[in-house]
């Protein structure tokens, strides 16, 4: 009797593409929810490509979405930490449904609020087009709420935190 088996090998590129996609999609939903005008397609591609590259080289610590109000205050802030795994085991899963339920907890922002994306790093990183060094706003005094794991992939996972 003969048998056959199929094995799927997941690469770091798969993990990076998947997690960057879920993170960017979550950011897109948050911007839409808050009524903040998103950047165009070119900027989107630069951001997704950079985040994917940094996940693939395992340098990315977290992606940060800062909402800058017309009065200069920066809140809310969303953090998307990435945790790397020692092995490449597991499947691709996401918690978009749970994140959608968490939308009810996100408070509105005034008209004219803009946004900025930051990335922090756990090690040296390769510069990416459209990205330059910057300084995050202070999170002092902001209350943090965890939205839990956002996505799992074979080589890493991403979660979400909400600071208001």
């Amino acid at each position: 009797m003969s048998t056959a088996t199929a094995t799927t090998t997941y690469t770091y590129t798969h993990t990076a593409t998947y997690l960057s996609d879920v993170i960017m999609g979550t950011i897109a939903d948050v911007l839409a929810l808050l009524g903040i005008t998103p950047d165009g397609a070119t900027r989107w591609d630069q951001d997704q490509s950079a985040i994917a590259a940094w996940i693939e080289e395992r340098s990315l610590e977290m992606v940060v979405l800062e909402c800058r109000r017309p009065d200069g205050k920066v809140r809310p802030i969303f953090e998307f930490p990435v945790i790397y795994k020692a092995t490449g085991e597991g499947e691709f899963e996401n918690s978009r449904a749970a994140m959608a339920r968490a939308h009810a907890k996100i408070t509105s922002v005034p008209s004219g609020t803009t946004y900025r994306l930051f990335c922090t790093y756990r090690s040296g990183y390769t510069p990416q087009p459209g990205w330059s060094p910057g300084t995050r706003a202070s999170t002092d005094g902001l209350r943090s709420t965890s939205f839990g794991t956002l996505a799992e992939a074979p080589h890493a996972s991403a979660s979400a935190r909400y600071l208001r």
């Binding site: 879920v22 999609g25 897109a28 839409a32 998103p38 165009g40 989107w44 591609d45 994917a52």
Partner: protein
């Protein structure tokens, strides 16, 4: 004729690559018609370049299809992500039915929380609509006793 196509998204493709694949499929399908110019299709889809990436990345097109209505063709496009995307058997060939197209409309789903953004994006653009295509088809069926999908496409644009 109702057709469906599934497009593999992450981790196989980034959102930008998915949208380019969908654009190519629409273009290849409509290009079979002698009444539709490929360049016009490309130009008509340009306004969606930003919001399409957002809808794809957020996973909204997995449950809410883009619907292309033209002639007798009703084409639904959804995306598939995760491990299933890597094993998906895609058919990216031009979809039968495009040759009869003389007019066409692409219906973009209004999915919360992107509903307002979708409406704003398609407003004023020929060939793009945020309306629910099913309701329009029912309306057309009531009015004529049959479904004239070209008329549906025209009505959608006038309503946009």
């Amino acid at each position: 004729v109702q057709r469906r196509r599934e497009i593999a998204s992450a981790p196989k493709r980034s959102a930008a690559e998915v949208w380019q694949t969908i654009r190519r499929l629409f273009g290849d399908t409509l290009d079979r018609s002698s009444s539709v110019e490929r360049a016009d299709v490309d130009a008509a889809l340009d306004p969606l370049d930003g919001v399409a990436r957002m809808l794809i990345s957020a996973g909204h097109l997995e449950g809410h299809p883009l619907v292309l209505v033209t002639g007798e063709l009703w084409l639904e496009i959804t995306t598939v992500s995760g491990g299933s995307a890597l094993s998906l058997q895609e058919n990216l060939n031009p979809v039968p039915g495009g040759a009869g197209a003389s007019d066409w409309t692409l219906y973009v789903p209004q999915v919360e929380p992107m509903d307002k953004l979708v409406r704003t994006t398609v407003k004023g653009h020929d060939h793009l609509s945020a309306d629910e295509p099913t309701a329009l088809v029912q309306e057309a069926a009531k009015a004529s006793g049959g479904v004239d999908l070209d008329a549906v496409a025209r009505w959608a644009r006038e309503a946009a």
